[in-house]
């Protein structure tokens, strides 16, 4: 693969990422439902993917996180996914679903050990009363759940974040708060691949933007 190629479907893209410094690299990632996808993302870079519902955006993120069966190569900092145990891969390349899942009754129970401290300290930054962490999940609104689920992911501070519509259920103010937090992470070197229905958000956060068409990535 030639140096400086970021996307096999579109060689010569405006932003050149040297493959040798790619944090996350996809090569021929595919399943019988979507792909193949080729992409190299640098540390601190944000990729925004948009496209109609059912076009395969979530599939792409799930395949990167190895939650759905897939073929092809994915690597993190040059180390192939095959050489990671699945849990440690997912801890480093962390997927956050559009509709977060909860497996215990109370919100705070989903924050083990020191992550709870992080959550309590950052609730207000996302416009949430810290006391909400002590509520049963079932009593939280969709938007509250979405933000708390995001804290769950951010608290673990993975080097790569795969965010599936992270602000879909949020109003303008909450969306701005989430974006501020994400921008800080990007500045700190976290790599983000984000699916967003919102073109303005994609423009605000995405260093490069892609469109999902016929289950393939097309540069926007």
């Amino acid at each position: 693969m030639p140096r400086g190629t970021t996307d096999a479907t579109n060689p010569g893209e405006a932003v050149h990422i040297d493959a040798s410094i790619a944090r996350l690299k996809l090569a021929g990632l595919r399943s019988n439902l979507a792909g193949p996808f080729d992409l190299a993302v640098a540390p601190g870079e944000c990729i925004a993917v948009s496209g109609p519902s059912g076009s395969g955006k979530s599939l792409l993120l799930r395949m990167i996180a190895d939650l759905d069966p897939n073929e092809g190569d994915v690597s993190l900092d040059g180390r192939n996914r095959r050489d990671f145990s699945p849990p440690s891969w997912r801890r480093d390349v962390m997927y956050s679903a559009a509709e977060p899942g909860w497996w215990l009754d109370i919100a705070m129970q989903h924050f083990p050990g020191p992550t709870l401290t992080f959550a309590r300290e950052n609730m207000q930054r996302l416009g949430l009363a810290p006391g909400l962490l002590d509520s049963p999940v079932i009593r939280l609104s969709t938007g509250e759940r979405q933000r708390i689920a995001l804290l769950r992911v951010l608290a673990l501070d993975p080097p790569v974040l795969l965010l599936d519509e992270p602000t879909a259920a949020l109003d303008q103010d909450s969306t701005a708060r989430v974006e501020t937090l994400l921008r800080e992470r990007l500045a700190g070197g976290t790599t983000v691949v984000m699916v967003s229905h919102n073109p303005e958000q994609a423009a605000r956060l995405g260093h490069r933007r892609f469109f999902m068409r016929d289950r393939r990535l097309v540069a926007a």
Partner: protein
């Protein structure tokens, strides 16, 4: 033991009650008389047939024939376990899981009782082995089918929760633990209820049968206690085997949740 033997005439008298049921259905327009008639005939034919078969097998007293009868019973029980859940694990997944769990639990519990507690001569005497395998099978089937149904319906319902844990870096074992626990619990509740109620709310079937057959009530109670231990042990074993085999089939070498291996009317589709 001096069981009181029934003559065909004795049974015919009690059949009056079935006729009464039919009349009731006609008078109240329950529209049940046809089903009632079919069920009655089936019951009589099935029981008389099995009576002849058992008499024949007991007379043969051949370990191979006894084993064959038990294998057929296990195979039918496996099919029952497989058929209950709304979801199917591949084409024969449910059946393979149900039959192996039921076979293992029944075989172990029955062999234990025959070789250590009841000790007929020889230990595989069909007069003891077949009824014992039958009653264990009935209970083990119940436990196994509850466990399988709980796992398969639970995994569909709790998919977002399980995948959220996987995505955060949990092992598959940790992510499915809650469901595993709930499924084994659900499988064990009936036998726990049965034990708590035994002797107070219900007089268990085996004990009733033994008393009717002329056995001393205390001796009959001892038999029933032994059976309850076998049933609870067998159910627990079957439930655990079902739950772990199912969990293994629901994941792969990359610790994914392979809900795509389930087929059902409302199969989960990846968004």
């Amino acid at each position: 033991m001096n069981p009181i033997l029934l003559s065909p005439g004795d049974i015919a008298i009690s059949a009056v009650l079935i006729v009464l049921d039919g009349v009731l259905s006609l008078v109240l327009r329950l529209n049940l008389h046809r089903q009632l008639a079919i069920a009655t005939v089936r019951m009589v034919v099935q029981l008389v047939l099995i009576g002849f078969v058992l008499r024949f097998v007991f007379a043969l007293s051949s370990p191979l024939v006894t084993l064959a009868v038990v294998v057929v019973m296990v195979a039918i029980a496996g099919r029952e376990v497989a058929a209950r859940p709304e979801q199917r694990l591949g084409r024969i997944g449910n059946y393979a899981i149900g039959a192996s769990a039921v076979a293992l639990a029944t075989f172990l519990a029955a062999t234990l009782a025959l070789t250590t507690a009841i000790r007929p001569q020889p230990w595989y005497d069909p007069r003891y082995a077949i009824p014992l395998a039958g009653i264990i099978l009935g209970n083990v089937l119940n436990g196994a089918s509850l466990a399988l149904d709980s796992m398969l319906s639970g995994v569909v319902r709790e998919r977002p929760a399980i995948e959220a844990q996987l995505a955060l870096g949990a092992t598959f074992g940790a992510a499915i633990r809650g469901l595993v626990r709930a499924s084994v619990r659900r499988a064990l509740l009936p036998i726990i209820n049965q034990m708590s109620a035994a002797g107070i709310i219900t007089l268990p079937g085996i004990m009733t049968g033994q008393i009717l057959a002329g056995m001393d009530p205390l001796e009959a109670a001892k038999y029933q206690i032994l059976l309850m231990f076998l049933l609870s042990g067998g159910s627990a074993l079957a439930a655990v085997v079902v739950v772990y085999l199912t969990a293994m089939r629901l994941t792969d070498d990359r610790q994914r949740l392979r809900i795509d291996r389930l087929t059902a009317a409302h199969q989960g589709r990846t968004p």
